[in-house]
Structures are given as structure tokens and as C-alpha cells.
């Protein structure tokens, strides 16, 4: 049981504990220092993940913990994204009485997302989903005195409690049918078993539980509310970080079931279409940028599901999923960093003339939104390109066509924001948070551009991540 295999997670938890201890000893106005601990902890965790690449792929903890390239890269993204979110938070939370504890929740939640990516045991998956969810509810409702925030947390909790319960029922059914919860023995049992409705139901419920973390149909309803109501850094975190871990967990589950016994791919493909289309249609006429970003996050989950749907059918599927998640993560974090930096400004109309006042901040927003559309040469373009490539290669051409049609629809609402920011004329003084959120805009915005230009580099790294470990 090599403890080194979970060092990145341990690092996050230790940093979380350190932030909590520090927060209980220093006065509230100085609790911004806890953010520094969080950023350092997240970066250390990122480096520890990178350090594991040489050992991959291995399975440890009696086969419950898969340490393969997809898991490691997902954890690298989770750690990096968490660091960015921690960078957004200090001035936003400066007025909150429990400022320091915020980072503890953030880091614990990130550890939960990391566990999802590496889980090779259904019970560990359940633990990971619960850790990520419970901290997530608190992150969403962190502004206790603010009704919209509490409402967002409440909605997240209600849907989450339901989805998590169903996840447990699903795990129970699969355990009952196959006699084990570890993926290795499950794969062995599946090789000899035949189709059964109870197994189908169990697998379906587990998928549902993971879809909740991704914010995909049918468990998507929390996403727009959280994006709109939660504190902006929490919204950035919850729309991005759990999705990375959940997408890899779902791909691992899809690859686990042999097509002869239970092929989850058609189901995932159907849900991908529904998720993309519903998210895009709902985003079309939003007047609130944060709600719009929430619905756009739903639709982006749909594109990730396209890559999941061809897992095992195309060697390009896993690198495509990772590249897409990377592009989505940096762009969405950049967009929310801009929202945070503008003190949570919400109405799209209020973004009019941003280009004239603050061209750099506006450029960050425009780059992020163009990347979400998939305009080359930004990171989101390479992500979508590889996803389309994998879909065509995996025999899901119709899915690629629908994904393309959805991209055209999505351009409309992203352009509504871009048009306001660039063409609009509006003279009202813009209020900003301090330098940390500005730095987050700068980092995430440049990454959006760089990860596209240096896509060859990223894809070379992900190219090794073609298969998922199940033993």
C-alpha cells in the first residue's frame, strides 16, 4: 500500500488543515494569507501529480486506486484549476467572517474531485462523489446572509442528495449482481455474465450519479443556479473542477462494461445530445451573464460526453476528452475570473463598453468566450477538434454533426456578450477587486491562448493516455 500514490491528495488535505489552523489563530482581516497556503498547496499537489507520470500506469490500494495517465492528467488539471480559484477568492471573501475556512473547503472538495478521477472501486467512487458534493454545497451557500447564494446551495443540495442516494442504490445493485465493487473483479465477472435488467438499472443509476457531478442532463438543474447565485469563485470552482474528475470517472465506467453485456455508449451519446441542446437553448436569451455561463457549462458537458461516448471505440477518445476538459477549464475559469474581478457584475447589459474602459479585462473575457465556441487557435478549438475527430473515428458521425449544429447555436449567445463588451458604449465607472483576481484573469486568459498555440505539446503528452486501467 504505497502511500506515495496518494501524495497529491494528502498534500491538498494537509494544506486545507493548515489553512484552517491558520484561520483560527490570525485575525479576520489577515486571513487572505490562507489563500497563499491554498495556492501553494495546490501547486505542490500539481507537481506531485506530474512526478507520478513516470510510474504510470499502476494500480494500488488492492486495485481500488487507478494511477493511469488519464487520472494523472485530470488530477493535474484539478490541482491547477483549484490554485486559480484560490487566487480569485481573497478580495471577494475579504468581508466574510469565516474567510480562512473557505480555502479548507476548496481544497477538500478538490481532493474529492481527484479521487473521482482515480477511483477504480465503486465504493471509492461513492466516497469521492460524496466528499466533492458535501463540500460543494457549503461552497455554493457560503454567503449565508444572501438569499440567492443560500438558494443555490439548497438546490444543489436537494438534487445532489437525490442523485447521491441513487448512486448508492446503483452500486448496491451492481454489487449484488456481480459480487464485488472493485473494477478488476467486476470486469472479470462481467466477462462471464449475461445481460440482466437489474445490472442495467444499477449501471444506469451509477451513471446518473456521475452525471450530477458533471452537470449533465438529467441531473443538470443545479448548474445555472449555482453559477448565478454562489459566490463567484465558488461558481468558477463548481462548474469546472468536479466536472473534470467526473468525466474521467464516467469514461472509466463506460469502458468497464463490455459491449456484449451492457453497452452504455448509446445511452451516453443520447444524453450528450440532450445536454448540449438543452444547455444551448436555455442559454440563448439569458440576460444574466453568470446564468448564461451556467447554461453554457451544461452544454459544454455535452461535448465532453461525446468524447466519453466513444471511449474504447477510438484511440483518440481519451486524449480528446482530456484536451477538451483542459480547454474548457481554462476558458471557463477565465470567464469567471473576469466576473469575479468585476465584483460579480451580472447583467449582460452592464458589460457594455468594457473594451473601452478595460481592454485587457475585456480581451480576457472575449478570448474565453471565443474559446468556448471553439474559435481557432484557442484551447477550446483544439478540444472540440479532437472531440469531433474521435467521434467520427469511433463511428458516431451523427453525434459529431449534432455537436457542430450546437456549436453554431452557442455562437449566438456568446456573441451577445462579446458584442456588448466590444461594440457597446456605456459610461459608468467600473469597480474592480484587487490584484489577485486580476492575476487570475491574466493567467487563465493567457493559458486559453497558449494551450491552443502549444496544443501540439499538450496532445503529445495526452497521446500516452489512450487506455484506462481497470485492475
Amino acid at each position: 500500500m504505497p502511500i506515495g500514490d496518494v501524495l497529491p491528495e494528502i498534500c491538498l488535505v494537509l494544506a486545507g488543515v493548515a489553512a484552517l489552523l491558520l484561520a483560527s489563530f490570525i485575525p479576520q482581516p489577515r486571513q487572505g494569507w490562507c489563500a497563499a497556503i491554498a495556492v501553494v498547496g495546490a501547486m505542490a499537489s500539481l507537481l506531485l501529480c506530474l512526478n507520478q507520470l513516470g510510474d504510470a500506469p499502476t494500480a494500488s490500494f488492492s486495485g481500488a486506486w487507478a494511477l493511469d495517465a488519464p487520472a494523472i492528467w485530470a488530477r493535474v488539471m484539478i490541482a491547477g484549476g483549484t490554485g486559480l480559484v484560490a487566487l480569485m477568492a481573497p478580495h471577494w471573501m475579504a468581508g466574510d467572517r469565516r474567510h480562512g475556512e473557505y480555502y479548507t473547503l476548496l481544497l477538500f472538495s478538490a481532493a474529492g474531485a481527484m479521487l473521482m478521477a482515480g477511483a477504480a472501486d465503486l465504493l471509492e467512487l461513492a466516497v469521492a462523489v460524496l466528499l466533492s458534493s458535501i463540500t460543494g454545497y457549503a461552497l455554493a451557500a457560503y454567503h449565508r446572509a444572501w438569499s440567492i447564494s443560500v438558494e443555490a446551495g439548497m438546490k444543489y443540495f436537494l438534487i445532489g442528495a437525490f442523485a447521491n442516494t441513487l448512486l448508492m442504490v446503483g452500486i448496491l445493485l451492481v454489487f449484488g449482481m456481480l459480487g464485488d465493487t472493485r473494477y478488476g473483479p467486476i470486469a472479470a465477472a462481467l466477462a462471464e455474465s449475461t445481460a440482466s435488467p437489474l445490472l442495467d438499472l444499477g449501471a444506469g443509476l451509477i451513471v446518473l450519479g456521475i452525471l450530477f457531478k458533471m452537470g449533465a442532463v438529467p441531473a443538470h438543474a443545479w448548474m445555472p443556479d449555482v453559477a448565478e447565485g454562489a459566490p463567484a469563485p465558488s461558481a468558477a470552482f463548481l462548474t469546472v473542477i468536479p466536472k473534470i474528475g467526473a468525466a474521467v470517472a464516467l469514461a472509466r465506467l463506460v469502458a468497464l462494461f463490455p459491449a456484449g453485456v451492457l453497452d452504455l455508449r448509446p445511452l451516453i451519446a443520447l444524453l450528450a445530445v440532450l445536454t448540449m441542446t438543452l444547455g444551448n437553448l436555455a442559454a440563448l436569451w439569458q440576460q444574466d451573464l453568470r446564468r448564461l455561463l451556467g447554461w453554457s457549462s451544461v452544454s459544454q458537458s455535452g461535448y465532453a460526453l461525446v468524447a466519453v461516448a466513444v471511449t474504447g471505440r477510438s484511440p483518440e477518445a481519451m486524449p480528446a476528452l482530456l484536451m477538451f476538459l483542459l480547454g474548457y477549464a481554462v476558458a471557463n475559469l477565465a470567464a469567471f475570473a473576469v466576473v469575479t474581478h468585476l465584483r460579480g457584475r451580472t447583467r449582460i447589459a452592464d458589460y457594455a463598453g468594457l473594451w473601452r474602459d478595460r481592454p485587457w479585462v475585456a480581451a480576457g473575457l472575449i478570448l474565453a468566450l471565443f474559446s468556448l465556441v471553439g474559435v481557432p487557435p484557442l484551447a477550446g478549438f483544439v478540444g472540440k477538434l479532437t472531440v469531433f475527430l474521435a467521434a467520427l473515428d469511433g463511428g458516431y458521425g451523427w453525434l459529431a454533426v449534432l455537436a457542430v449544429a450546437n456549436t453554431v447555436i452557442s455562437l449566438f449567445y456568446y456573441l451577445r456578450v462579446i458584442g456588448q463588451a466590444y461594440f457597446g458604449e456605456f459610461d459608468r465607472p467600473v469597480n474592480f477587486l484587487g490584484w489577485p483576481s486580476g492575476a487570475a484573469v491574466l493567467v487563465a486568459g493567457s493559458l486559453t491562448l497558449l494551450m491552443g498555440l502549444a496544443a501540439g505539446f499538450a496532445l503529445d503528452l495526452f497521446a500516452a493516455a489512450t487506455s484506462l486501467l481497470h485492475t
Partner: protein, 499 residues
Amino acid sequence: MLSLAILVPLIGAFVLALWTSASTRAARATAIGVSAVPFALLVAVWVGFDASPEAPLFQHLEEVPWIPALGVAWRMGVDGIALVVATMSALLFVAAAAWPIELGERAREYYAWILFLAGVSLGVFLTLDLLIFYVFFDLSLVGMYFLIGRWGHGDSQAAALKFFLYTLAGSLAILLAILGLVLAGDGPLTFDMRELIARQPLAGMDLRGGLVLLGFVFGFGIKTPLFPVHTWLPPAHVQAPGPASTILAGVLLKMGTFGLLRIPMAMMHETFARYALWIGIVALVSILWGALVALGQTSIKRRIAYTSVNHMGYTVLGIAAAGSLVAGHEAARALALTGAVVEMVAHGLITGSLFLMAGSFWQRTQSYEMADYGGLAGVAPKLTAAFILAAFASLGLPGLAGFVAEFQIFAGTFAVHPWLAGLALLGILVTAALFLTMVRALFFGDRKLPEGRSFPDLSRSETIVMAALLALVVAIGVYPAWLLEPIMASARILVGGAG
């Protein structure tokens, strides 16, 4: 050299975007100077271009890896077709930057976007990599979106939005078709155009080939634009500032026809030949529809915009004729292809000039309605002369560029599909009528501008730009050999080598 032609304007755009203290004068001077660099470079490449029969199709090759995992690289190179279209585009960008226009306070950004568009548009024509082609193709939409939306007039943001939505739908169809093309066949994944032309990956695949071709024709058809997906064009043109219209008509529309002949015609010629007749019929409908609708327009700019639908229809007709057989009639098909390329150059120069002059009308009186003018020959003789010359060139008067192009297209098409060519001739009649009535309404008869409203003639810089563009129109009409030589060399290889 080719990379420089792309990178210099892009760097220039970046510098202008950051140079916050630049005055309008300085920004304009920078834009003219920087956009002249790729033109000079391309002229130098033209001079050194080997058009002999033994010469390779693509020359001046450059290659730097970008995404090796997908077989994507920064591959540059030109054949005669790409060379002439790119050189014409580079010239139009100089003209667009030099054309005087009232911009208000954000002039610097306007010139930055013009340079950005210059870089990415040349990238479309000069690249030999399908994915880089797509990247530049898409970026040209972004640049044009901002130009129309910010510096247009009237409901320009709606027009810009419509433009972006339509053309992005087209470009994504192209992306899927590109992926369908590169994933077909054996061998490692590559986006190298030379390799794909050699491989013909879709040969023998009926359904898949048909679907991929449909994606390309739909996507490039929107850009060209062909009937019935041309409806984004008139609002975009009418609301765009004059020089932006010139770039839109002269350069961006060419990407559609250029893509059609570069990708489906060359890389899947079997499939293309099977459906070429249908593409020709769509082109015929566009020719007639564009001409008839143009005749019904009362606004100068809308009328010119619809003639673009008509003229680009001729180009597509030529391409369809050139690609309609796998073997046989090589000479006629090479002639049709050459005509199509000359039409691209001629249309760029002629319609580009017409749109610049339409922009001058707006600068002077803020109106595009033909009914508001009349009798301008007396007050603006230079404008009258230039406009009439361009109009005659556009309707295909012998001795001018349009005639050279259309004659070759019709001669080539006649050998392959006589009845298509015969019906398309009707388009020329209508075009002649619509240009003659427009010239009469604008320049002759009674003066309809309100008393005391002055209408200045072309200014000095306007005259220089117009003289340069129209001199080329005449030069191509009188002595086309210098233009035909590189095009012919490539057309022969593409048509003959296809068999």
C-alpha cells in the same frame, strides 16, 4: 517568404493594437506600409515562379511542425492558382488600407483589424495544411465580424451577427468534412494537402464520399455564396464600411471558390466528378438568381452585392466543368478552370473597386439609394469615368478583365455541358442591363441631390487607388498572358493529373 507574408501583417496588427498613442494618420500610414510588404513579397514569388511543364505543382515550400500527434504542421507553398489569388488579395488590402474613410476615435483599432484580416486571409491561400487552412478560414470571420459590427452603419451589429452565424455554420461543416476526409483511407493521420491529393482517400467510397462532398459544398457554398445560402451577404455588405465590403467581396468570397477547387476538386476528384453536374446546376441558379435579384435592387450597394452572387456563380460553374470528368476533354476542362481563377482575380479587382466607390457615395451623402443621385457626370468626372469603366468590366466588355474570365469559363463549359453554358449566358444579358441602368441613374439625367449640396470628385488618394486597380483590370483585358501563364501551368496539372 510565404510565412513572412502572413506574419508581417499579423505582427503589424498586434503592434497597432498595443500602440495606444498612435494618431489616425500614423495608424493609416502604418497599415498601408505594412500591408504593402506581403504584396511586394508575393510579387517577388510570382517573378520567381516556375511555370514550365516540368515544374512541380507546389513551390516555395516551408514546413514547421505544430501538432505532430495529429499530423498537423505549418505547411506553406503555392501553386499558380494560389499565387495569383493571394497576390490579388494582398493588393486589395493595400487599397483598403489606403482608401480614405471617416472613422472617428477608434481608427487605430480599425487599421489593426484590417492588417489582422490581411494576415489570416493570405494564410488561407498560402497554406498547404488543411487544419491551418481551417484556422485561418475561421479567423477571417472573427476579423470581419468586428469590422462590420464596429465600423458599419445602420443595424450593423445584427448584420455582423448574421454574417458570423451563417459563415461559422459553413466553416464547421467544412471542419467535419475535413475530418471525414483525413480519417478515410489508410496511412498515418495527416493534414498535408500534397499527401491527400496524392492519396485520394475517399476513392471508391460512395456514401462517405458523397457526405464529405456535401459538407464541403455546403460550407464553401455559404462562403461563396451560392443560392440558396447567400442571404447573409446583402445585409453584411450594405452595413459594412466601404473598404470592409471590398475585402469581403474581393477576398473573403474567394475563399469559398478557392477552397472548392483546392480541397474537394483536387483531393476527391472521383466523387467530385460524380456530382459535378449538380454543382454546376446550383451555380447556374446562382448566376440567374443573382442577376435577376440585383436588377430589382434600388440601392447601389445591394445591387453590387447581388452581382457578386452572379459572378461567383460563373466561377463555380467553371470549377464544376473542370472537375466534371475523371478523364477526357482535358484541354476544355483546363480552360474552364483557368477561367474560373481569372474570374476570381477579375471579380476581386472589379467588384473591389465598385465597393470602394460605393463607400465614397456614402462618405459624401450618407445614402446608397440610386434614386437620390443623377447627373453626377458633370460634377464628378473622375468618379464617373472610374465607375463606368468598372461597371463595363463587370458586365464582361471585351478588352477588360471580366471578358477574359467569362469567355474562358463559357468556352470550357460548352465542351462539357453545352446546355449549362447556354443558359448561363442569359445571366450576362441581365448583368449588362443592370449595370447600364445603374450607370444611367447615377451619372446621367437630372441632378437629384438637394440644391447647394456639394458632391466632390474623387480625392487624390482615392484617384491613385482607383487608377491602380483599374489599370490592372485593363491590363488583364488587353494582355492577359502574364496572368494566365502560372494559372494554366497549375490547371493543366490539376485537370490532367487527375485522370
